[in-house]
Symmetry: C2
DNA sequence: GTACGAGTTCCAGCACACTGGAAGGTCAAG
DNA sequence: CTTGACCTTCCAGTGTGCTGGAACTCGTAC
């Protein structure tokens, strides 16, 4: 199976597949006499797994760790469980943050609705954003991993294999 | 006021201040005879505004637009209102996505808790992540702007001015 | 005069997951 | 033999907001 067919079958662009190979996420397949990559059918499964794991919010680095455990013949259950728990944790924290941001934005929108632009000209820069109740910034306690934006299907894949 | 004092007063590192200047967010201040930047007190306000706007989820590009409207002597109220509305929208959508992700992760965590690793060895790659009920990926309809991770206070600022 | 902190410029890199494009090779059909 | 789809490698760029470091100057204290 050539890379193009695999791309179509797995809904992952050929470029991305090569990129994954380079990152060690999928093993280098054998080549045809002409130098073309020749994938076994299992490659589809592997790519699907990668997509699923990304859907669970994991980075390629996480996924690479899981896959290498698996490639060593062990069941990666405990690693996977740990990663899931970690991500759940991050998602929870992010949700908390985002909810706070939403509250802040709603307050701002409300304030903006009742503003007189002429009065505003006198003010500092913007009376909407710099109000009396200063908007304190979350200031992210432990940086940790910033939690990928979960923008998976954007751009490349939907656009087609090219 | 030198850049160091401004950094301290505004809680924005000197490096970052120069970076903002280079990005056009703060006007190049006059220089001392020795070539040092010499800031007026208003610079503190401006930096605070930038931080506040970031806290509302705006990118530096957004903030730059607001500031340039302001610098032209107009009240940026309508621009600001529009931006706020846009961000609110994005935050809402992101919250929906994240909530879905959380649900997915919870299901995964639950599944992981009742897995037999030995059974898993036989399976494809990981029975937790690749289950019968395939985890469909959000597939982000309109990409739009990915909504900055709102990780404002990480690393640089808390660490100090350096 | 010399040490030191704080300033200057400029270039590079991080993290993340790709994507674009150039320049060329392979293979089947016509 | 040529066309064209498909493949190859490699390098560079995207976006976001900085941060690090090198190499140098300024200003003040001792």
């Amino acid at each position: 199976m050539q890379i193009g067919s695999l791309a179509e079958a797995s809904d992952v662009s050929a470029k991305t597949i090569r990129f994954y190979e380079q990152r060690g996420l999928i093993p280098p397949p054998p080549r045809t006499s002409g130098g073309y990559r020749d994938y076994p059918a299992e490659a589809i499964q592997r790519l699907r797994f990668i997509r699923d794991a990304q859907g669970a919010g994991m980075t390629l680095a996480d996924i690479g760790r899981i896959l290498s455990v698996r490639d060593n013949g062990q069941a990666p259950c405990s690693e996977v469980s740990t990663l899931i728990a970690e991500h759940l944790d991050q998602v929870e924290r992010r949700l908390t943050e985002l909810t706070a941001t939403r509250t802040r934005l709603r307050r701002l929108a409300h304030r903006a609705a009742g503003i007189d632009p002429d009065a505003c000209v006198e003010a500092d820069i913007c009376t909407i954003l710099v109000g009396r109740d200063r908007l304190t910034v979350p200031s992210a306690g432990t940086p940790g991993r910033p939690l990928p934006p979960t923008t998976i299907g954007r751009g490349g894949v939907e656009g087609g294999i090219s």
